[in-house]
Symmetry: C2
Subunit: 352 residues, 2 copies
């Protein structure tokens, strides 16, 4: 098992204290899982900002959005017998699940891809409506025919699904509602149409038969999706035994569409691997890495809000098609960067 990522020496690039909370009474708990794109000669991150009130010793408190866009704080005593709080990310109270933080998406940009700042007057993307009251998370950004497609996780008490917004100028956004119903996340649209169809990877979860597998779907308009196929499954006794999910948009190479994906095992260790899809028939998986190409090993990857995690949903490919810069969430708390050689990733694939 070999970690072939070349991490930025500046890592972590962004920590929670680097940004200002979105409103009084909240603090930023995590900065993570940025969508990445290029616009006006800059590299942009659409960072997930997870917030909650300052935590008191004897209680758990977290915000949820109301229909009016205001927030409501829910506070639960830690000794409440109806509270189950074994996961830093999700708690159960009186039989219902809640997130411990509320996420929105914030734009940061950079000239060099290493130093990021919030430009003035940049809009934030926040949850809107009854399907996003627990926030929006982990956005993938892809540019197709001069339109940016933003696919993200929409969370509310109704469930966890995939939302879509589009923009051409990063000032005005068009909402297209929930494009994939619960339980679904990790949706990455391909960066170009194939034989006239949009394609997207996504990750439904099953309550009984099935699992946390990567599926592919196609669409005529990018908004309505069908023809779902299961293409990548978890592997017993592997690093990706418990769940797998797509990263950012697949990368077009001469050998096929290359996808960097995350896998987690029973211990919730999140690593990155890769698989390759046929250029013309992307429902066909040609090859997959046996081992991870990156696993948590630095301090900031091993410990934090939810330690032992590297998770990517955004990258920039150099013009030569050889150097891939991924941006990734470390320990669900920090934003980091790393470089890969596409040739090296391809060399680690095993034919299926």
């Amino acid at each position: 098992m070999k970690d072939i990522a070349v991490r930025f020496k500046e890592n972590p690039l962004l920590s929670p204290s680097d940004l200002t909370p979105s409103r009084e009474g909240l603090e930023i708990t995590c900065l993570l899982n940025p969508g990445v794109f290029q616009f006006q000669n800059k590299i942009w991150l659409l960072v997930r900002v997870a917030e909650r009130p300052k935590q008191m010793e004897n209680s758990i408190s977290f915000p949820i959005l109301t229909n009016k866009g205001t927030i409501e704080i829910i506070e639960i005593k830690k000794d409440d017998p109806e509270l189950i709080a074994t996961d830093a990310r999700v708690i159960n109270y009186k039989g219902a699940d809640y997130l411990t933080t509320l996420s929105h998406l914030r734009l940061l940009c950079s000239e060099d891809g290493r130093t990021f700042y919030e430009p003035k007057n940049s809009p934030s993307l926040v949850g809107e409506g009854i399907l996003e009251t627990f926030g929006i998370e982990d956005c993938r950004v892809v540019l197709i025919d001069e339109v940016y497609y933003l696919t993200f996780t929409s969370v509310s008490k109704n469930g966890v699904g995939v939302g879509l917004r589009t923009t051409v100028d990063w000032q005005k956004f068009e909402k297209h509602g929930m494009i994939l119903p619960p339980h679904n996340k990790d949706c990455a649209i391909f960066e170009e149409k194939i034989n006239g169809l949009f394609y997207a990877l996504h990750r439904p979860s099953s309550v009984d038969i099935g699992g946390n597998y990567i599926w592919i779907a196609s669409s005529l308009d990018g908004i309505h999706w069908g023809n779902h196929h299961c293409i990548i499954k978890t592997r017993k006794e592997h690093w990706d035994s418990k769940r797998v999910g797509a990263g950012a948009a697949p990368i077009k190479t001469a050998k096929g569409w290359l996808e960097i994906y995350h896998g987690a095992n029973e211990n919730h260790q999140y690593c990155l691997g890769a698989f390759l899809m046929d250029l013309e028939v992307p429902t066909k998986v040609l090859a997959r890495t046996e081992d991870p190409i990156m696993f948590p090993k630095t301090n900031y990857e091993l410990s934090g809000f939810f330690g032992n995690v590297v998770f990517t949903n955004g990258h920039i490919l150099d013009l030569d098609g050889e150097t891939l810069t991924i941006y990734y969430g470390a320990s669900d708390e920090f934003v980091c960067g790393a470089k890969f050689s596409i040739t090296e990733i391809l060399s680690l694939l095993t034919n299926i």
Copy 2:
């Protein structure tokens, strides 16, 4: 709580012994949950036929479909420590879930709606491909612009989703793949387009946040779906506290689209209720019955393969729009019929 269904005195209309198994070595365990439609002046049922080998005392055995359309029998000793068999319908073996029966769909017809027979040379619909190796189930049939749309549950080790096939003549069928990814079932397409869009009810299930709720989606072509909304949720301490799911296509009334749905409680008792959607904006629910309009009470509804169940996914509305004949599965083993008064159902709705 009042059961307002007028059950057919001929119930059960169909029992497993009434039909011949699809192949040697299997027996029919259950006949249930028919889709219903009219064609060539007859009433037709598209019955779910659940089969398995004759069961031996010390083992559980069940068939699964191979990619080639043949079947493979899996047999597991009842004392195998890796077997969990607490539900008649689903077992877990070595960490994976399996169905205890393999279902296909069979056509029966009737002149009077009470006596059904299998016409000669009628095709069966069977699972095809890797998303249907555990069979296809619980088909809804709806006629739109002279095309019959068949939505059914597709089951395989990849998960449980909604498949679509269409036909115009009930001889040739066009496959449209999986239109809603796991975990999803109970998909009922509306019988006409609304403002140019297809609409469908469906029932995704959530692994954590969310539940087993009824959602609605829309489509330009009936094949690709988007704009998902959650419209009907389970209700604590009600008869529909654990899961809800659409029945057949909503019925157009002067007051709105009327949907007969099933709800189950923690004890897996399945009853029927109703709700009403706005005629022009079907994502808007106007009213819902507080109590069930039908609950298991006869012998054949109380005991059978999976007792205490009434479940409908097919009906015929009289031309006057007043008398609704539902066909339903009783105890997951028998096909039955019952009549309702639309006026009476509407009178039991409570505004939301």
